[in-house]
């Protein structure tokens, strides 16, 4: 996914050249977050890029699907990257980083093992911030039509005449 035209055609080398604090999962640069393979880049509007990167990581840790690219998680959370919501998100991510530091990590992103990050999330599971992010992901992630085929889900079938001639009863292994 490339959400801004000016990121198109940028190579991995060019992205890294403009980045800092790359970590291992996302490239975080001045005003942007990008995939390490340059598959997509997202230009932050209101959130700090580090915050956005942490939010994306958090989203994946909440609903981890290893066969689903980060681009879907970016789409799921980018609605929070607005002037209206930025303060709340910055505060929530700051709390997450504080919890990470309390557990001996430099930051949430610095906790390399998913289990360690999930333990931090479990610790704030009841918080309004966590519930807002988790609840938003239920629709923000799983209601992306482009994601459905990756789970085998076919969506509407009316336009194709239903499944009456297209396998409603084609199970063959019972």
């Amino acid at each position: 996914m490339t959400t801004k035209p000016n990121w198109r055609g940028m190579t991995r080398r060019q992205l890294i050249a403009r980045s800092f604090a790359a970590g291992t999962t996302l490239i975080v640069g001045a005003g942007f977050v990008a995939a390490p393979n340059a598959a997509w880049a997202y230009e932050a509007a209101a959130l700090k890029p580090e915050t956005l990167a942490t939010l994306i990581r958090m989203a994946r840790d909440i609903y981890p699907h290893d066969h689903i690219g980060d681009a879907f998680y970016v789409t799921a959370v980018k609605g929070y990257d607005t002037a209206e919501t930025a303060a709340e998100i910055e505060a929530g991510i700051a709390a997450l980083n504080a919890a990470a530091q309390g557990a001996g990590h430099a930051s949430y992103l610095d906790a390399a093992w998913e289990d360690d990050r999930v333990a931090l999330l479990r610790g704030m599971e009841k918080s309004a911030f966590f519930q807002k992010i988790r609840g938003g992901l239920v629709t923000g992630l799983y209601n992306q039509k482009e994601l459905w085929p990756l789970f085998g889900y076919e969506g509407e079938s009316f336009s194709q005449g239903g499944y009456i001639d297209r396998g409603f009863d084609d199970i063959d292994w019972l």
């Binding site: 840790d61 909440i62 609903y63 981890p64 699907h65 066969h67 999930v118 988790r134 239920v138 629709t139 992630l141 799983y142 209601n143 459905w148 789970f151 085998g152 889900y153 076919e154 969506g155 509407e156 079938s157 009316f158 005449g161 239903g162 499944y163 009456i164 297209r166 396998g167 409603f168 009863d169 084609d170 199970i171 292994w173 019972l174």
Partner: protein, 523 residues
């Protein structure tokens, strides 16, 4: 041809709500020459308007007005502002229903006598029975084109059904079929046969499933005796100094208020809105709300013992393909207290699309335990539990003291605590459902908690006696002769079956009674 009645025409029968109860009653009365005005809070949507997308359809059709919840039921925790998943539209929840059309079993009309005293349960026998209802069920089944009744063949089984059948037969269950469904298995009533499209819950775009929205409502309108006003939210029922109801105040789409006079008022707004309207219509003469001398208005709220079981298999099932609920195991619907509970339950196929599965499989769940299940979505089969829950006086609809709707009226609060019998039944059903899928080869199963209620019942219950019920054997309120209840809130007990067929049968029967009483000048 469509009738138009004057607001001051006090000769009309006024029906509030146009779903399985009100929509059918409106048509049945119109067919008999009775002048009817039906007020519907929602808009009018027809098959071409339905959206085969779960969230979009939910936004289009659902009743989303302010509601609150309390009690120990899981829904209050998971969906605190959405106790029920029902429809606000002409045709009501018959747009959303899955079509399962089962008669009550004879003993279920007599729950108090059959089950005996159950501590904490407000059990009561219905004042009517299977024999009395048989001819009305026949009419209802004919109207709805119910498969496996009359000459209608059963629906073919889809993949989800085949998994259920395989496991159920392996466990020794005998009553396993694609069920009795108000979904055309052959062309009928100028509507096509089922095309196995899925999305039964989002409104059938073929019109193969019966819905009042495109059957009874237009048929009633074609008589010239029925006027349906959509986007008309009733606020209050008024009465005269003799205590007879005189009509209803409603708000139109623009929020302008009108008063429709009427000779008879029939309330069919579903088991949350119907008692709410009676309570919101309290007056000096009826300080506890209309028809509430028994104190039972709003009480005995039932929602069926529900829950789902999903199973993951080694190979694809693709449960979403085809008719959502054409699959049933009925062996557990029997009366057999040796299982540790009274009442019985049905197991019916059910599937959710990926978006709703994410919302409902394990509400609040997250992490790999949850996502590994979602990863296996294509290999899942699903079933729904529908069992008889115990009526309890404390499970009830009350008026919120803090939350108001968009008209400034108190919102309804839905309080529900599971009865120990409900919990025992649900546990048994989870075990049996999981055993069925294991027997069919499942590698993982999920006992999924109840969704927001689709079967809302019992809050204006029928009783022989005015002291312990709201309506009599015809749905006529004990207290006010020209006020009727015409929806599932009449239910004395809930039985194990999906309620729509019984609501329809009662509505046909009530229309017969009202028309006869009108002609005898008794109303």
């Amino acid at each position: 041809m469509v009738a138009k009645f004057d607001l001051n025409d006090d000769s009309v029968v006024l029906i509030i709500g146009t779903g399985a109860g009100g929509g059918v009653l409106a048509n049945e009365l119109a067919q008999k020459g009775v002048k009817v005005v039906a007020l519907e809070a929602g808009g009018r949507y027809l098959p071409e308007d339905y959206i085969n997308d779960e969230w979009d359809a939910f936004g289009q059709l659902s009743w989303l007005d302010a509601r609150t919840t309390s009690g120990d039921w899981r829904v209050a925790q998971d969906f605190s502002g959405l106790p029920a998943w029902i429809v606000k539209a002409v045709g009501g929840t018959t747009i959303h229903w899955a079509g399962a059309s089962l008669r009550f079993r004879p003993h279920e009309w007599k729950a108090r006598t059959t089950y005996g005293h159950v501590a904490g349960a407000n059990l009561l026998d219905w004042p009517i029975d299977a024999e009395e209802m048989a001819p009305w069920y026949e009419k209802a089944e004919a109207k709805l084109g119910v498969t496996r009744t009359g000459n209608f063949p059963g629906l073919p089984g889809n993949n989800n059904y085949k998994v259920l059948e395989k496991g159920a037969l392996a466990l020794g269950y005998k009553e396993v079929s694609t069920g009795r469904m108000a979904i055309n298995s052959v062309e009928n009533d100028d509507r096509p046969a089922c095309q196995q499209t899925g999305f039964c819950f989002q409104g059938c775009k073929w019109g193969a499933k019966w819905s009042a929205a495109y059957t009874d409502i237009p048929k009633g309108e074609a008589t010239g005796n029925l006027e349906v006003r959509s986007n008309a939210q009733v606020l209050r029922i008024e009465h005269d100094e003799k205590g007879r109801v005189t009509g209803a105040l409603y708000a139109d789409k623009e929020g302008n208020q009108h008063f429709q006079k009427a000779r008879v008022v029939c309330v069919a707004g579903n088991s949350i809105e119907s008692p709410r309207l009676l309570l919101n219509s309290a007056s000096e003469m009826f300080p506890d709300g209309l028809a509430n001398s028994s104190g039972q208005v709003g009480r005995n709220y039932m929602r069926h013992v529900t829950g789902s079981v999903y199973g993951v298999f080694e190979k694809p099932v693709r449960m979403w393909r085809g008719t959502t609920m054409a699959g049933i195991v009925q062996d557990e619907a029997r009366f057999d207290p040796s299982r540790g509970f009274v009442g019985g339950y049905e197991l019916e196929t059910l599937s959710l699309g990926l978006p709703f599965m994410a919302a409902f499989l394990d509400p609040g769940g997250w992490g790999r335990g949850f996502t590994s299940a979602m990863d296996d979505y294509e290999r899942m089969a699903g079933m729904w539990i529908v069992g008889e829950d115990m009526p309890q006086e404390t499970n009830r609809i009350t008026l919120s003291s803090t939350v108001k709707d968009q008209y400034g009226l108190p919102a309804p609060n839905v309080h529900f605590d599971d009865h120990p019998n409900d919990i025992a039944m649900r546990s048994h059903a989870y075990r049996q459902g999981e055993a069925i899928y294991r027997a069919a080869g499942a590698t993982r199963t999920f006992p999924t908690p109840p969704y927001p209620s689709t079967h809302n019942l019992g809050t204006n219950r029928m009783s022989e006696h005015a002291r312990d019920g709201v309506v009599n054997r015809h749905g006529q309120t004990h207290d006010i002769a020209n006020l009727f209840i015409s929806d599932g809130s009449q239910f004395t007990t809930g039985a194990a079956e999906n309620p729509t067929l019984t609501i329809v049968a009662l509505a046909i029967r009530q229309a017969d009674h009202i028309a006869a009483e009108l002609s005898r000048q008794n109303l």
